[in-house]
Symmetry: C2
Subunit: 755 residues, 2 copies
């Protein structure tokens, strides 16, 4: 086997310099000649009927080039196919949340656009609004009348014999857990640039996680052929699942450009980004757990209510994935899961990487409670219930490579767990959280990725991939893979990505598909290039291709490094002999491609699974209610790290977002109005809030992964807050059942115990 | 054989709307955020030594971001490889023409850049200058001291036994012919945008005829790897050979961006475009011709002096091509050609499609003089001397498909030649010009083109080709070919071209390579896609690929149009089964790839040759000296027209440029200073100057051309002015021996005859 020269090395990321120096360009930085500026008129009511919209005064304002309302949409509604399609992107008959798009203007300056928006007269008839999902479930006042219910999604999973298992259980627990809504709080406000040209092509620059999926949705919504809707992503200031799917801003900007025949830029304000783009679901979890005397969790019955906001959006996935990621981690012989996503008069909610926060806390806390009752070490009960390679999940996925147990014992060792758990001073505690996560996911033919590569006359290559980098280092990852496979330095690889006109289909930065699916397609394209280079070289040298190797861009006999020539010669020879070097590759994870998401799904969910455990030691201040993570230890099975520094960096980010942030982040609502729509009132972690971190990577060499690699860091995302809950109990004897863990809640919980 | 549905149809060009509506964006329209503006300090002397450059005051001016001089170049000099490399792009030791680049500034506004340029102090020592090439040949004051002579290029061709042939000749003629320098006078002033980014990549937008060739030259000049120099061309306002090769403006803008680390735009003024970009060579032709009693031209001896200006540039090609295009047209049993390109203190001269104007006039006029002496019809002497399919040229190229004789007889018929020649009223005349022209040309591995195509999930495709469209319709041509080959509507083809990062090598819009070479590569890539689509479809349908056909994007059994499915299904099937559809193709013309240009060349010059004849009827006003073309008839052998309207449009353009313009266009010099550097004083034809035109296309179905196609219109470029000379003699009995045919010259010639 060939020694890898780049894979597994922490090479500096190709995007570091521009991001560190501020040279990176974001969508709002774009300027096209003749570009107009857009502003949006938004609903002031959480629920109201639109009786009339008068845009005449706005249209007459000097400098206004286009005014649109819901009438300008094509009547197509969006929602994750093949589930509910309920969102027309600009309100027509009704508004359903404060901030919903009602009309929009493109004008020569932002100021004129804003003035014009203020000149639009809308006559509303206010309707009763509902903000509590449990109330909405029973309410006969419907948010979408045509649907006959406020229940948007019902995920219904029933595996084994749950009732019988509860009958056999030694321990049965019942509790309620909650998590509040959160904002994605990306640094970059949402921005779109649209340019509809005279040939009927629409160019869009959007900070998004999957240009190909986005282009398809926009092609449907705008009734334009797919090849005439070009979606690009340039540098992006955060995504976190909130930029996964098509947004009303995309449609608004596109329609304004189509109507004005000029380029249009829309940059949302911070307030609009907080109130009118997607948010994270509020959740209520009713959980019943049954365990046997050995600490094996033999029965689970969960009823989970998701506050979905006004539209379906990615609801079917957001409502089911929390279940899947837990079943990928621990055995589930008998389980019943009823996930209800309910319409309320709030802005629509979307995917979030810390999948199902209250649900994960509930499931793990019950496990810890069982351990407590049986006198088992929390580490031990995790090991007993942990999935292992070859295990089947409840919905019938097979786990292939699996470093879960190893991650548990490794973090225990790193943290000196057994010296600490139950043995630390009062108000100090140590806790553990573990999780598995699928790589790749069922989305029909969109589950797979494609890539292609062309070699120029100097032997340098351009890699074309739909791959999206939202900050994870995916761009660097594909360049590292390509350079390694072909045998050239990374400097010889130019990358063209995240552009639907230039690149083949890629699922995007969803569901841990980037390295495992996209990286695999890139690897195959690179292998195809290598084959072609070696074939041309062999023909030139009159030897067999397998006698040759490529090292650092030089072609040589395997056993003779001396007689070598530059790869450019092979490229030119191939060009000149009818076979310009262009390689291609596609990869589909071995999954049940058309697996159902909602109704008792069965079949292979992920192409493989990655695993992670986090241990944290915390200190609780009983006077202020402030939790402080002192140390975090993480062990991560990413199959094999393509770039260890990048994987570690990902985990550092997750400790911030899925750890520190869980002391503070929460949307504050008042009758459908967000009260803290800015970064002063909505608290996010600062560098000074971060704990010490120690990350180890576990190599399981996944048989399907490129160079053995799986997902590169995200799996930790559900572990930090679970470890905090576990550590908090160790520190105080109190179970936290509600996210976020704000000082107020901490103080209340401590007071309740002390009473 | 399949009936073609798109090829041969005058479909509307894909670029028409944006050009007709003014929506097209040219390089000067580009705006990048943080972009600086550049201005250039130019030499006020035709020849001077630079003693000192003091940029300190300019550097201190508020708003200035970078100042460069020749010291900032890497010391690399440019000229067509492997010939003279003498041009460092910014003057260092000496300036050699008025307008030469001495220093440049990038600043936050154009005004500040201009003020800064004026603050640069240069101390010169004036040197004696030479403007007359014949004087320069003998001069011992050298423009390039290191070269030891002012002769830059000497093309030396000697075939057969010229002296013996003259001995046998019945008729021997000797004359001198001249043509003045011209400007390219493109509508779009030369503009460059350069963006050197923090990762060390340089992006360049340049109105140019061959991005791949340009990128290579810049990669050498800037000492940067080829893949880090990205050259793009967007819409372009004219090229005419004047945008063939790297320009000092490219280097200046690149260096300013590299130094300032900001994007920089340079837009030359009209005056700078006239005086400091390339121009067309002045020529003096000493021609001796020998003919036998049958009118066969059996001996030629030509001594041609080219005024090359200050640098070598594309000189070796510009000095030899006039010979080649004539030998491609008429038999040359014995010929001697000495072409001297001489340095003078004028701006460098480059390629021009009306190759060797005075030379073509000389060669054809002597043929007409022979006919006159022998009482032969000028049409008849052309037919006797014309090359035919299978003939060898003097330098040993074989002519394949050849519609020359047919074009002569066809235009004679169209114009009712035999009723008119010698029979029209005084001051009216009819004349004929014919020419053949090679398609493709020897440039090592750069002679060939490559292309590739990817199909998306909707069966739509993106075609990647280096193909350049300078207005000829090349973009439409490749889209038509691709759609025809695959069997899809043109609307399903997206085109990515003329961008070195995105596309494979293509020679560019040089030497009639676009359709014949580039089009062939595209055709092969499309055939590869079609093969893959049919293979996937056959697998789906469980039939053999050759049982299937694709019509208008639908796949069906050849004998059953009813049962069909959309091509998207095949694309998705292929993606899902490990073979995303990506096609590739390359094509090299069957030429002597490394054929010498200058020293007695031998071997195959073009991959094939196209042929054209133009007949024009003119009227001469003896009082004003104004020539008026009344009618133009053209017959063009383009093998097969891909888009007849486009080919006809090309010929219309040439009638303007190579016909009407030859009454007026001329650079007016005074001691190295251009006196008419603007479109008020430099006259170009207007729409109202155009004659009636009637164009017929001859189909010879070239065996190598894509769908039988060859060059699509340019061959006419040397025929209109020759036909005018011939018609002028018919009208007045006077031979015009000097281009342009200004009223002043016409009156002089008529006066001379009347005396």
């Amino acid at each position: 086997m060939k020694t890898e020269t780049l894979i597994g090395k922490s090479v500096p990321r190709i995007d570091s310099i521009r991001k560190a120096t501020g040279a990176a360009k974001y969508t709002a930085d774009l300027f096209l000649s003749g570009m107009l500026h857009a502003k949006v008129l938004r609903s002031p009511y959480p629920h109201a009927r639109i009786l009339d919209i008068d845009t005449s005064k706005a249209e007459q304002l000097e400098g206004v080039r286009a005014v649109i309302t819901g009438k300008d949409t094509k009547g197509v509604k969006w929602g994750v196919f093949p589930y509910t399609q309920d969102h027309g992107m600009i309100a027509t008959d009704k508004v359903r949340f404060i901030g919903e798009e009602v009309a929009a203007v493109a004008a020569v300056t932002e100021e004129i656009a804003q003035r014009a928006v203020e000149l639009i007269d809308v006559t509303y008839e206010e309707l009763p609004a509902v903000f509590d999902p449990e109330k909405a479930m029973k309410d006969d006042k419907l948010i979408h009348e045509d649907r006959g219910t406020n229940i948007n999604v019902h995920v219904d999973i029933d595996v084994g014999d749950v009732d019988a298992a509860f009958g056999e259980a030694e321990i049965v627990l019942e509790d309620v857990f909650k998590s509040a809504g959160e904002a994605y709080a990306m640094m970059e406000p949402y921005s779109v640039v649209a340019d509809f040209n005279s040939e009927g092509y629409l160019d869009l620059w959007i900070p998004n996680a999957g240009p190909h999926v986005r282009a398809k949705a926009l092609s449907n919504l705008l009734k334009m052929p797919l090849n005439k809707v070009r979606v690009r992503k340039i540098d992006i200031g955060g995504a976190f699942g909130g930029r996964s799917e098509v947004s009303p801003s995309d449609v608004v900007t596109a329609l304004l450009s189509i109507k004005s025949r000029q380029p249009v830029k829309l940059v949302l304000s911070r307030e609009e980004t907080f109130t009118a783009t997607r948010q994270v679901h509020d959740m209520i979890v009713y959980l019943k757990t049954g365990a046997d005397a050995n600490g094996m969790i033999i029965a689970r019955d969960a009823r989970v209510i998701y506050d979905g906001g006004a539209y379906s959006s990615t609801g079917p996935i957001a409502t089911s994935v929390p279940f899947y990621v837990y079943e990928e981690t621990y055995k589930h012989p008998n389980v019943r899961y009823n996930g209800y996503r309910v319409y309320t008069n709030k802005c629509p909610r979307g995917m979030y990487p810390h999948h199902g926060r209250a649900y994960q806390v509930a499931m793990t806390t019950h496990m810890d409670m069982v351990a407590e009752k049986l006198g088992l070490d929390p580490m031990e009960i995790r090991l007993r219930n942990a999935n292992r390679s070859g295990d089947h999940t409840a919905t019938d996925s097979v786990i292939s490579s699996c470093g879960l147990s190893e991650s548990i014992t490794m973090t225990a060792e790193m943290s000196r767990w057994s010296e600490k758990r139950g043995k630390l001073p009062k108000y100090r505690g140590i806790g553990m959280g573990s999780m598995g996560l699928m790589c790749g996911f069922p989305m029909g033919f969109r589950s797979g990725a494609t890539a292609f590569i062309r070699m120029n006359e100097s032997g340098q290559i351009t890699l074309f991939t739909g791959m999206v980098d939202n900050g994870q280092g995916n761009e660097n990852m594909v360049v590292q893979i390509t350079a390694e496979v072909i045998g050239i330095p990374m400097e010889m690889v130019n990358l063209v990505n995240a552009d639907t006109e230039m690149t083949g289909h890629d699922p995007g930065a969803y569901s841990q598909a980037a390295t495992f699916v996209g990286g695999n397609a890139v690897m195959r394209a690179a292998q195809d290039v290598r084959r072609q280079v070696l074939a041309a070289s062999a023909e030139m040298m009159k030897v067999a291709p397998d006698e040759l190797d490529i090292t650092n861009g030089m072609i040589h006999l395997k056993n003779d490094n001396e007689k070598s020539f530059f790869i450019a010669r092979a490229a030119r020879y191939a060009m000149s002999n009818g076979g310009n070097i262009v390689g291609k590759g596609s990869y589909f994870p071995k999954i049940s491609r058309d697996r159902e998401w909602v109704k008792n799904p069965r079949g292979q969910m992920g192409g493989t699974y990655s695993f992670n455990t986090v241990v944290t030691e915390i200190e609780v201040d009983p006077d202020t209610g402030i939790i402080k993570m002192l140390d975090v230890w993480a062990a991560h099975d990413c199959g094999k790290p393509i770039n260890p520094a990048t994987v570690e960096g990902q985990i550092h980010g997750i400790v911030s977002r899925g750890g520190v942030a869980t002391y503070m982040e929460e949307i504050d609502w008042d009758r459908g109005q967000v009260l803290n729509p800015n970064l002063l009132d909505y608290k996010v972690p600062l560098a000074t809030d971060m704990p010490e971190m120690d990350v180890e990577l576990i190599t399981t060499n996944d048989p399907e992964g490129p160079f053995g690699a799986k997902e590169g860091g995200l799996t930790a995302s559900m572990n930090v807050y679970k470890a905090i809950v576990s550590a908090f109990y160790d520190a105080t004897g109190v179970w936290l059942k509600e996210l976020p863990f704000t000082p107020e809640k901490v103080l209340k919980a401590l007071a309740k115990k002390n009473n």
